[in-house]
Amino acid sequence: MSLAIPRDRPAGGSLPEPPAGAAGSRRLNQVRAFVRRHRLAPYLMLAPALAGIGLVLLWPLAQVAVYSFQNYGLPQITGAAPTQWIGGSNFTQVFADAEFWLSLRITVLFAAVVVPLTLIAGTLVGLLLNQLGRKMAAVVSTAALLAWAIPPVSATVLFYWLFDPDGGLVDWTLSRLPHWLVGNTNWAGFNWTTTGALQAYTVLTVLVVWQSFPFIAVTVLAGLKTVPHELYEAARVDGASPVRIFSSITFPLLKPIFLVLLLLSVIWDFNVFTQSFIITGFPGNRDEFNLSLYIYDKGFQFPPSYGLGGALALIFTVILLIVTVGYVRSSVRQGALT
């Protein structure tokens, strides 16, 4: 991955020289000279991409920021009431709402459970794939990639059925297992999705880990292929255990990859919307909201409050930026960006 801008090369070197004897192109030559003198060529080439990003990302973000200080909602769109600047009251309303803090807590706890589980499961499968013969590796990787390839809505509906209180496979199985194994709960008809945050997020944890470990496994496998084989041979000759081999060779060598995977997983698991929307039965169960659902509820549930939604989006963006800054910093330090 190389995003470096070739500053040290003669700037504008990529621009073709004017054809010899092209009369009347003096003006063009002047422009070329200007571009070369000020080393503008790289920036000119970046300009279309920047304009694109500005249009689809920065401009909407700026609008969201503006809305977050207004009472912007339906009456303002239909003209039933005027748009007003209301200072920071959207933000104070958010911070004063116990449900905001509850949803933030659920989001953080969920990520704290799911990120390690995903990384561990993904790494183990990656290591397994590296050891397996060609046929079995094909079987395991196909099974894993299918889980990854299923669209989130389909996967969630699948899990919804598995955990359905009326004849779902999970409740059916649990109700047939002996009590000493699964406790005294009446599992037949156990409602996993709406009776509480713990139950719902148990399902979501299984679902999200199942859907996201394949990416980790494939990435770890790709990393493993780059580790020189001699290192492992030497370790085995020295009689090192598999755990020791992992902790002394694999992990240190793949550390940059693990760091990137860790940060990406944190960002993804903070953003679980589709799955939680369906599993918790949005919008009825507010005690099961994560931050994404909370923002959607405040911003878009009738009557929509785009101002409040904007304020929340900004707050969420800042939270994710803190994580992303960690990502970029570590990437730079590891040399991934140079």
Binding site: L74, P75, A80, N191, T195, G284, N285, Q301, F302, P303
Partner: protein, 446 residues
């Protein structure tokens, strides 16, 4: 124009005169010189053949009564109940794709109207010959700040569904009229029918929970000097809330799986909840309206001939608990360019004759005092209970301007009931909900 409408409505005898007057009204209504190519009507729910037939009849009448619109096509778009607010919002924010007429849940109307979505139709309703026979309280529900924004179309109340065969086998001779009897009967049924639950109590079911609050003499909120005062924590209201929560907590007549569910299952779902269990026979009694019959028969018709209803009992009887007066309204879309034609179509859809046919076919009640007192409901075992319940109704504060925020966005009562069923401390949970409710009703946010 007013005169012509009255003439059309009353005197079919002078059809020619009516037609002429109709033409006159068309030319007088300013810019609507040409008949609109089409009128879009948003109906809620799923398309049902009987309703399509009914609407075809209405359109034929509309073309006959208003010849100036006889080339106007009427298009009905079916909006699932769960999508209605999203679709309204999208039409409002984009300014495009909105209807000319929309059906609204009657608790939607004040909130939607105050967002600027509906055209004010006060003068039209006043001039409408049938306007004066609409149940006055229901028309008041559609009036915000002195302006009428919609007309009631049909009404419905919830009651308790039960099975006659189960009652007979359990030796229950008359439907319960007090809470004590209700719980006793539920337990009796569970004993006679092992593996079933007696009475479903979903936590996300505001429109039924309020009946228990009212049935103990409590109020959700009352208006005092232009301000809302929430009363969830009054002793009477608390008795109703506690009774409902205890159906699961201490009486064990409702299963734990209904926690976090609506009467139709997971929020947003249309089946899989207490309705489905009642139809399958694993739940002995459940609270819903007569309109549920279509979806119940879709699950199973095995016990359909035994289905019957009684009103939700009050704490100590003998009168039933006030039922939430639900129903649908018809409103003219504010952004519609064809408001005059749209209103004319509304008057045909909502003529006492058409509204009564419609309501009867769907298990609803018409919104006209004349049609309700006509009777015919008491002879049906399924409808008699609901008809009795329809005599004891209440709607406030479910028709207040900020109720949508309190119930749909903030889900204050469902969240409170769920927490209670999860075992949260009673007084603190109810007090918290009460404070939130009072804030939302008065200011629009917690």
């Amino acid at each position: 124009m007013n005169l012509s409408r009255a003439a059309v409505a009353i005197g079919a005898a002078v059809a020619v005169a009516g037609a002429a007057a109709g033409c006159g009204s068309s030319s007088s209504s300013s810019n609507a010189s040409a008949a609109p190519a089409k009128l879009v009507v948003w109906r809620m729910g799923a398309s049902v053949p009987s309703q399509v037939t009914w609407m075809n009849g209405v359109v034929a009448q509309f073309h006959k009564q208003f010849p100036q619109f006889k080339t106007t096509k009427v298009v009905v778009d079916w909006i699932p109940w769960g999508n209605r607010v999203t679709d309204w919002t999208n039409a409002l924010t984009s300014g495009k794709g909105g209807p000319d007429i929309t059906e609204l849940g009657n608790t939607d109307t004040p909130g939607i109207a105050s967002q600027g979505a509906l055209a004010g139709i006060s003068s039209q309703v006043k001039a409408w010959s049938s306007g004066s026979s609409i149940i006055p309280g229901n028309l008041a529900n559609d009036t915000v700040g002195g302006t009428t924004f919609a007309v009631p179309w049909f009404g419905g109340v919830r009651g308790v569904w039960y099975r006659k065969d189960q009652f007979a086998k359990a030796g229950i001779t008359a439907p319960p009229t007090t809470w004590a009897q209700l719980v006793a009967d539920a337990k009796l049924l569970m004993k006679k029918y092992p593996g079933t639950f007696g009475l479903g109590a979903p936590s996300d079911y505001t429109n039924a929970i309020v009946s228990f609050i009212w049935g103990a003499g409590g109020q959700v909120a009352v208006q005092q000097g232009g301000q809302w005062k929430a009363e969830l924590n009054s002793p009477a209201s608390e008795a109703g809330i506690k009774f409902y929560a205890d159906l699961f907590l201490t009486q064990h007549v409702s299963p734990s799986k209904y926690i976090g569910q609506t009467e139709l299952g997971a929020p947003g779902a249309t089946s899989g909840g207490s309705d489905e269990d009642f139809a399958k026979g694993t739940l002995d009694m459940y609270v819903d309206g007569p309109w549920a019959k279509a979806s119940l028969t879709a699950v199973s018709t095995k016990y359909a001939s035994q289905w019957a209803s009684f009103p939700i009992p009050s704490q100590n009887g003998p009168n039933p608990a006030p039922a939430f007066a639900g129903g649908s309204d018809l409103g003219v879309w504010a952004k519609s360019p064809n408001q005059a034609a749209a209103w004319d179509l509304v008057t045909v859809m909502d003529s006492p004759a058409n509204a009564t046919t419609f309501a009867n076919a769907q298990g609803f009640f018409p919104e006209f005092t004349t049609a309700l007192s006509g009777g015919g409901y008491s002879s049906s075992p399924l409808l008699s209970g609901f008809a009795k319940a329809a005599g004891f109704t209440q709607i406030s504060p479910l028709n207040s301007k900020n109720w949508a925020t309190a119930d749909a966005t903030d889900a204050i009562i469902p969240t409170m009931m769920k927490a209670l069923m999860q075992g949260a401390p009673f007084a603190a949970t109810v007090n918290k909900a009460n404070t939130e409710l009072q804030n939302v009703l008065n200011t629009g946010h917690e």
